[in-house]
């Protein structure tokens, strides 16, 4: 800089005056610099009479300070810096909603930065990643928060979005991936951590502490009884708190507990039932507080499984016995019938078939006697060789009989038992045996030239898989009728594409998965019109009663209070500007007077002035 050596006289004695901003050479008096840029702290007087420093706080990581009021995307701002700033803003908002302290939020932001570096944000929604970062912080700090509050966010982005409800499982997956990639070992959740929080929410007043203690004891008992592994901690807490409350004579209904703990009624009931099954439930209140039983139970799902197995065994035994008894009965029946036949010789001949109806319980006309015999033999084979033949023969039988009902299983007739071994069945066997035992050779040539090895494939059976012509016609008709809508759609699409091709404007349009469309700004003369237009544009929420919304008066003071949080977040994000920094969903009234032009643009409130975030200086 020229302030070291004077240009005129070469002297080095330069006087720099900060007040006037001059640099003057002491030797010859020539002014070397004028209007020097100073970097001093300046003070100015504030309204209350005190003095405050002039300037803005800039974040340590070099994020650019924003100039003025608007969300000014300055020239030369990196996309990465922008994303980080965006993320920081969202973390702060969300964190304040959940009442996390600044340290947690900073840690969460650091996680987010790490995630960005490892490219974990690609392919995932920003909200999901942010929520996962926050949840990770909560887990590592041991803050008692379940995943449920995290899934109730709304996405506060630069564009006003429809409130996103993050699915808990999606959030969980993101969280797991994050923890694994960042090599962070999140300690397992202990349901005991949640008890104080839920107890506070249930408002036990003075006895809060006692109820919490009792609930904790119950929970520990549940742990010993193996009810807690694999279960959601909130469900267990709910059950423990319910019992504890009742023990201390507080009447908390299941509905109240559910609203606090966020599990469903069925789960709570199940937990209570499981607890009932344990021996501890038999103790009285005083005994429970004093005594701790040593015996530990098995996990409830295991005992359930055992019980089912036992029941199944019993059933099988019962069936076997019935089968035996039935067999005996049939033997007697056959014997009797044989006797009767012998004693009625004149009924042979043309009436023979009619006489046999009672015995077979089937339409005798439809079946030949020869076929019937075959079927009998097959039944025998079934009965004797359940494993091998069952599937094969029954499969064929089903095919052959077609729509006819399967004959009820009868015991083997005397004649076939005593007679020669069923021949038809034995014919059917070799095929299946060769298939099962003599496995087809592994043809390397198979994969090389792709020839289909037909060894072991029964062509006839495969014929059955293909319908004949008449059946094809019938099926075609049915199918066309069933899929009419879809076919129509396809036709229209084809026509549309053909038309566009002619006009030369046809483009390959891939269906967009993320529905972030740029919406045109709404021009409306009145607030009502604007609301209508906006509702048409946005996705319809099931939680808003749109009729009432349309009937609302324009006056902001008369807007009704009971509106769900989603409707507030979705309908007028600009409302936050009026009500303050932190959004408490229940308290913000729906103010229809807000200029709806803000809906089309970014919400100015969302942009945080750096001054505000300096409340806790780093």
């Amino acid at each position: 800089m020229s302030s070291r050596v004077c240009k005129n006289c070469g002297g080095t004695d330069i006087d720099v005056d900060q007040a006037r901003g001059d640099a003057v050479c002491m030797g010859c008096g020539s002014v070397l610099e004028d209007n020097i840029i100073v970097s001093e702290v300046q003070f100015m007087e504030t309204g209350g009479g005190g003095s405050s420093a002039v300037g803005q706080f800039v974040a340590g990581d070099g994020g650019n300070p924003t100039f003025g009021e608007g969300f000014y995307t300055g020239v030369g701002r990196e996309s990465r810096a922008q994303t980080l700033q965006n993320g920081r803003r969202q973390i702060n908002t969300l964190g304040h909603q959940l009442q996390l302290n600044q340290h947690c939020l900073d840690t969460a932001f650091n996680f987010y930065k790490m995630a960005m570096c490892k490219n974990l944000t690609r392919g995932r929604k920003v909200v999901h990643v942010l929520a996962a970062c926050l949840y990770l912080v909560c887990r590592t700090e041991g803050t008692p928060l379940t995943m449920a509050p995290f899934s109730c966010f709304s996405a506060l982005n630069s564009l006003p979005r429809f409130p996103l409800q993050v699915n808990v499982y999606v959030l969980g997956k993101t969280f797991l991936t994050l923890a694994r990639e960042l090599c962070i070992n999140a300690p397992a959740i202990d349901p005991c951590l949640y008890i104080p929080r839920f107890a506070h929410m249930l408002e036990f007043g003075e006895k809060n502490h006692e109820v919490s203690m009792t609930a904790l004891r119950l929970l520990q008992r549940m742990k010993r009884d193996w009810m807690h592994t694999g279960r959601r901690p909130s469900g267990l807490c709910g059950a423990a708190l319910l019992v504890a409350a009742r023990m201390h004579e507080f009447r908390r209904t299941i509905k109240e507990i559910i609203s606090v703990v966020k599990v469903c009624e069925a789960t709570l009931r199940k937990r209570l039932n499981e607890f009932e099954d344990t021996p501890t439930s038999q103790l009285t209140i005083e005994e429970f507080m004093r005594v701790d039983l040593d015996q530990e139970c098995d996990p409830p799902s295991f005992t359930d499984g055992q019980r089912k197995k036992r029941l199944k065994l019993l059933e099988e035994e019962l069936e076997k016995k019935i089968g035996e008894v039935q067999g005996e009965i049939h033997e007697y029946q056959d014997e009797i019938e044989m006797e009767l036949e012998q004693s009625r010789p004149k009924l042979r001949g043309i009436y023979a078939s009619y006489a046999k109806t009672g015995r077979t319980q089937r339409l005798p006309d439809a079946l030949d006697s020869h076929e019937r015999e075959e079927e009998e033999l097959k039944d025998v084979a079934e009965h004797l060789n359940r494993d091998l033949c069952d599937q094969l023969i029954s499969g064929e039988e089903e095919e052959r009989e077609g729509k006819e009902e399967r004959p009820p299983r009868r015991g083997p007739s005397l004649a076939s038992l005593l007679g020669p071994m069923p021949t038809a069945a034995s014919l059917g066997l070799p095929e299946s045996i060769s298939k099962c035992i003599g496995e087809e050779k592994e043809n390397d040539g198979d994969t090389e030239n792709g020839e289909l090895d037909l060894n072991g494939i029964d062509d006839d059976e495969i014929e059955l898989y293909i319908l004949n012509d008449k059946e094809v016609k019938v099926k075609t008709e049915l199918w066309l009728k069933q899929n009419e809508d879809y076919l129509k759609e396809q036709k229209e699409k084809q026509e549309r594409i053909a038309k566009e091709k002619e006009l030369g404007i046809y483009k390959e349009r891939k269906p967009k998965i993320s529905g972030s469309k740029k919406r045109a700004p709404i021009h409306a003369s009145t607030a009502d019109e604007a609301i209508e237009k906006m509702l048409e544009q946005k996705k319809i929420s099931t939680k808003i009663n749109y009729d009432i919304l349309k009937e609302l008066n324009v006056k902001p003071s008369t807007s009704p209070a009971p509106q769900t949080a989603e409707s507030l977040k979705g309908a007028t994000p600009g409302a936050q500007r009026l009500t303050g920094r932190y959004r408490k969903p229940a308290n913000v009234p729906l103010s229809l007077g807000t200029p709806l032009s803000t809906l089309g643009k970014s919400s100015p409130e969302l942009h945080r002035l750096p001054l505000e975030s300096s409340s806790t200086p780093p």
Binding site: Y169, A188, T229, Y465, L467
Partner: protein, 187 residues
Amino acid sequence: MEPSNDVALDIIITNVVAVFRTRCHLNLRTIALEGVNVIYKPEYGKVLMKLRKPRITASIWSSGKIICTGATSEEEAKQGARRLARTLQKLGFKVRFADFKVVNVLAVCSMPFAIRLIDFTKKNRPIASYEPELHPAATYRIKTLKATIQIFSTGSLTVTGPNVQTVATAVEHIYPLLFECQKPLRK
């Protein structure tokens, strides 16, 4: 650490998934109209065909790629796939049986003891992960074998891997680890 050779554990294979290509274009509509056990799903662009003999469900795409699920062994999967190809051949397509590969095998196994999942997860971080809010089982992934084991507190395991051998190895691998964190079942 007790070697697993002493205990005979039943590993029951419940599902085998395999893919193969027919190397020819298939007209799904023809298949849908002329086959017996088919379901056409136009919105997904595939046809589901169910075979009875080896109980198999196959998803058939028009490009000729076919995925077979539901078999209980690798041989059965191959047999079912071949039958399927034969059926398609009979329908008139020039199918060839190419690139058959078993992609996934699912097996279940039951330990004779219950397991303390939290202890197990603590000892085997970060390979094991346990999130009771999301899933009742702890997940243990073996990268070298590319197998995933889900461990339930009752002692049942679900193992998935690229082939049957991997599944058996995975069970052997994890048995000693589970044995450490066991809790005897009160039958």
